[in-house]
């Protein structure tokens, strides 16, 4: 048994209740051998605490609601866990995508392929070298 599974936190920012997207992504990551910790809808404090306490290797944010909420979550996670990469998905408009990318967050807007998301998780957690 491989004891080096990577752990990924999946959280929803804002009050948007659309669960299908993050659930499908979490499932794909699980099937790719990751341990995915779901916290559902969460405020910034909850996300930061989970990122620290769960000692995750990657944080995935499903962006719902206002982009400023997501940006605040990104900045707070960076402060608490500067070593942890962040990727994001959801209904992210182009201007918001740019803002997230400026913070070094990889963004998967609608239409993204699950294989690409899994490949990014592999790369960002250092599971693959590509």
């Amino acid at each position: 048994m491989d004891h080096s599974q990577k752990r990924i936190l999946m959280a929803k920012t804002g009050l948007d209740g659309h669960w299908r997207g993050p659930t499908i992504v979490a499932r794909a990551l699980r099937d790719a051998g990751f341990e995915v910790i779901m916290i559902g809808m969460a405020n910034t404090d909850d996300i930061v605490r989970a990122a620290v306490d769960e000692d995750v290797d990657l944080v995935g944010l499903n962006i719902g609601g206002h982009i400023n909420v997501a940006l605040r979550a990104v900045n707070s996670v960076r402060e608490a866990r500067p070593d942890v990469p962040i990727f994001a998905g959801g209904t992210v408009p182009p201007h918001a995508k740019k803002q997230l990318e400026a913070l070094d967050v990889e963004v998967f807007p609608p239409g993204s392929q699950l294989v690409d998301i899994v490949a990014a998780a592999d790369r960002l957690t250092g599971r693959s070298a590509d």
Partner: protein, 313 residues
């Protein structure tokens, strides 16, 4: 190893991130687990360890979410270890207990950690007992462990917790289910959760009948709860702490903790034996013998004895 020592002293110093990292380290490799175990001696054993078990979907996570405020009121701080299953196919896991345990308003006073079972079959993860010892050493006064949703035999929690809460629902089985070995023998306290659904009275009756025949145990409390509305949760918490108090006054707590140490040693040794066995099975020599035994050229006993000989080397 040096890193681990630094992490341990930082964690003992109250550094949360260091404790979080140690919890990953013990999940990572058995030698880390042993290294940390050996540095936590003598065992501290101050924390009250509560195990919560029961079938999938019984409401274990939701109940824990409701019990945590009471635990905080009694003890000031609370750690939660939530175990979920790993896929036997991908080794991945979806750890979803945290969804029902937000508890944001409690801030730093609650430490929730999700753990994947990683192939363990007893309802816990391999590193769970060491994780409990870590929380204990770092002065977390209560550790609440949520097992996998279990069936009838995954009862490792009995050897780890001071008080075991079994969560069931109305309509759970019948008197035959209640009298089968396993789950009903493991409980120190029972909660019939979702008690607003029909059948709670019958489930209580079946449970009572079943546990009354277990001569070695005193009659456990059977509580009724509706976790989603908080109904009966305070009474459940009181039953849990009353059991704990009885354990202390009767001296049974010491006995349970001796058993826990015994279980720990047993597990470490059986892990080592398993590893030796796998190493022997993976040798070319044994592979060849197995191949021959499949087509009847060699007696299977010969392969067996060879594996045993290799393990004894």
């Amino acid at each position: 190893m040096h890193d681990i020592q630094q992490l341990i002293s930082a964690a003992l110093d109250g550094k949360r991130a260091a404790l979080a990292r140690l919890l990953s380290v013990i999940e990572g490799a058995d030698q880390n687990l042993l290294a940390i175990e050996s540095q936590l001696t003598p065992p501290v054993g101050e924390a009250f360890v509560i195990g919560i078990t029961g079938p999938p979907g019984a409401g274990k996570s939701t109940l824990i979410n409701r019990l945590v405020p009471h635990a905080l009121e009694s003890f000031g701080q609370a750690a939660v270890l939530a175990i979920d299953p790993s896929s036997p196919f991908s080794q991945g896991a979806l750890l979803g207990d945290r969804v029902r345990m937000q508890g944001g308003e409690f801030g730093e006073r609650v430490f929730i950690r999700s753990m994947a079972s990683r192939g363990e079959e007893g309802g816990l993860a391999r590193a769970t007992s060491t994780a409990v010892r870590l929380f204990d050493a770092c002065k977390w006064p209560v550790v609440i462990i949520e097992t996998l949703g279990i069936g009838q035999v995954e009862l490792d929690i009995m050897n780890l917790a001071d008080t075991v809460l079994v969560v069931l629902n109305p309509g759970w089985g019948d008197e035959i289910q209640a009298n089968k070995a396993g789950l009903t023998e493991a409980g120190d306290v029972f909660a019939i959760n979702k008690a607003d659904k029909p059948g709670a009275a019958q489930t209580r009756k079946d449970l009572l009948d079943s546990v009354s025949l277990i001569s070695s145990k005193s009659m456990p409390d059977i509580m009724e709860t509706v976790a989603t509305t908080d109904k009966g949760v305070l009474e459940l918490w009181q039953a849990i702490t009353a059991h704990h108090a009885r354990l202390i006054s009767s001296g049974e707590l010491v006995e349970r903790r001796h058993n826990r140490q015994r279980g720990l040693i047993r597990r470490i040794i059986s892990d080592q034996i398993n590893r030796l066995m796998d190493d022997a099975l993976n040798t070319e020599e044994v592979a060849m013998l197995l191949e021959k035994s499949t087509v009847g050229e060699v007696d299977i006993h010969k392969a067996l004895h060879r594996v045993l000989a290799l393990m004894n080397r």
